[in-house]
Amino acid sequence: MNYKLWLAAVLWLIVQNMAAQQYRVAYFGETITHYGARAGWENTLAANDRVRSNGSIRHELLFSINLSVFRHPNNHIGVALSPELGWRRTAQGGGIVQAAISAGLFRSFYEGKTYRTTPEGQLKRTPLAGQWGFMPGFSLGVGRDLSVKGNLPLLVFANAHGLVQYPYNKTILLRPALEVGVIFKTKS
């Protein structure tokens, strides 16, 4: 992996941003002591409204791009860029349940000073050392759309994430995470 991949990802982010319908920002961490933040752009690809006597139930197919930054203190800072395909059901009262699957490009940055060994057996300082990897995953969540029974264009939500980092010592590393945040709706 090299900078071209990151450049392509950033360009994709910009395009998504231009067409975005919703923005999200959230706390994102493995635990409360391994903390971080997540922000993203979200588009509704398709929606279906089922009208009921007391309102309508909305199903949406969503696509989003998210950037997560989290910290394992005294270990590393992790950055993940994750395109995500999701489904959201919004009930008559505004309650939502949602699920998503995501791909992810991951980079860690080790805290502290990293030295690598040279073929001659010497040590050489390595700035910005870390590890590249993929980080696919899934999430399940609940929340509330505050625009359904009010006029606030906001969703509040909490997602539980199951993420896996690959490679990690020739295998995968499970990285569960909690996301609690807000989605700002800019278009109806």
Binding site: A26, Y27, G29, E30, T31, I32, T33, H34, Y35, H72, P73, N74, N75, H76, S108, Y110, E111, G112, K113, T114, Y115, R116, T117, G121, L123, T126, A129, Q131, R144, L146, G150, L152, L154, V156, P167, Y168, N169, K170, T171, I172, L173, L174, R175, P176, V180, G181, V182
Partner: protein, 335 residues
């Protein structure tokens, strides 16, 4: 108004989570995070403690596959007097990278140790390095110290509940199980061991599950740090690594326990070790019985002190922390 209240509540929750997440500054007088990238492994080394005396204790954790920094709480008194370097070995603890499990072999362990010492000397050129090996960490240290002139890279070595040769260890464990089984009236365990004599030729057929289940049944090590809820909380929420990283690494040791461990034998080389050595041992240890300490003493040509922890099993730094700390600091002071 209700929505404003909900939003405010959410923001308050987020702020609380972030504030709770903020790890306070490390209280250690000296604190530096290092990492060694070597042959596929990115191994963290956390240096903590008191550096004013220019003495660093390099802690070699057990397992293999355990972690060093996760036992830091047992070194609180040591850190007040000297620095401690907590090194998570390759494919262990919080070590990351993409190391090949095929590198889990004794020559590589020793090579890694040599590079970590070199790293510490690069960062702290005036400091003297002392080794403390626990369990598997002792094996790693003997492999290192009996290779070339490596021993002269360090000031002294403390071996705690660890072995110099797998075969000799198995012999002593078998004796311990038979002795305890007879004393405790466990006829099944006694018969099992009587029916499974150990020779250099057949030791590869040892069934670890069969041996360890009987060892633990007889009280080989009834006290673990993880019996303490506070320690478990510390492991999950206060250590730099992730508990999931250890789970990811477990499967990589199959070859080690099937093949590599049986290659370990430094018994004929211990006599070449001339640096100061001390042996720390839990008197009640059934995992590595104290008879191994006596065998180690016999094989070392220079006289080495044996500090016996009467109320300890496999991990005296956990069960007799105060005595452990004082004995360790005394030994470092003398050497």
């Amino acid at each position: 108004m209700r929505y404003i209240t909900q939003l405010a509540g959410l923001l308050a929750l987020s702020a609380t989570l972030i504030l709770m997440a903020c790890t306070p500054d490390d209280p250690a007088a000296f604190s530096e995070n290092l990492r060694l990238r070597h042959k596929g492994a990115d191994m963290p080394v956390w240096v903590r403690g008191n550096m004013t005396g220019n003495k660093i204790l390099l802690f070699l954790h057990g397992g293999p596959g355990e972690c060093a920094i996760c036992l830091r709480e047992f070194f609180a008194d040591v850190e007040k007097e000297m620095a401690v370097a907590y090194w998570d070995q390759r494919i262990s603890g919080a070590a990351s990278g993409n190391a090949d499990p095929a590198t889990l072999n004794y020559p590589q362990f020793a090579e890694d140790l040599g590079m970590v010492i070199k790293l510490l000397k690069t960062r702290y050129p005036d400091a003297g390095i002392y080794l403390l090996g626990h369990s598997f960490g002792v094996e790693m240290a003997w492999q290192f110290l009996t290779t070339g002139n490596n021993q002269h890279e360090i000031e002294a070595f403390v071996a705690m509940d660890g072995v110099y040769a797998t075969y000799d260890w198995l012999l002593q464990v078998r004796e311990w199980v038979m002795r305890e089984a007879a004393a405790q009236g466990d006829a099944e365990a006694l018969t099992f061991m009587q029916n499974h004599p150990i020779t250099p030729e057949n030791m590869r057929t040892v069934s670890w599950g069969d041996w360890y289940s009987r060892m633990f049944r007889l009280g080989a090590n009834p006290v673990w740090p993880t019996d303490d809820k506070d320690h478990v909380f510390y492991l999950w929420f206060k250590t730099p690594g992730s508990k999931f990283s250890q789970l990811a690494n477990i499967g990589h040791y199959d070859h080690y326990y099937a093949e590599e461990i049986f290659t370990f034998d430094r018994s004929q080389l211990l006599k070449n070790v001339t640096i100061p050595v001390a042996l720390f041992w839990g008197k009640k240890d059934g995992i590595i019985p104290i008879e191994m300490a006596y065998r180690t003493q016999e094989r070392l040509e220079r006289a080495v002190p044996l500090v016996v922890f009467d109320n300890s099993w496999h991990s005296p730094m956990h069960t007799e922390q105060a005595k452990f700390s004082q004995a360790l600091l005394d030994f470092v002071q003398e050497n």
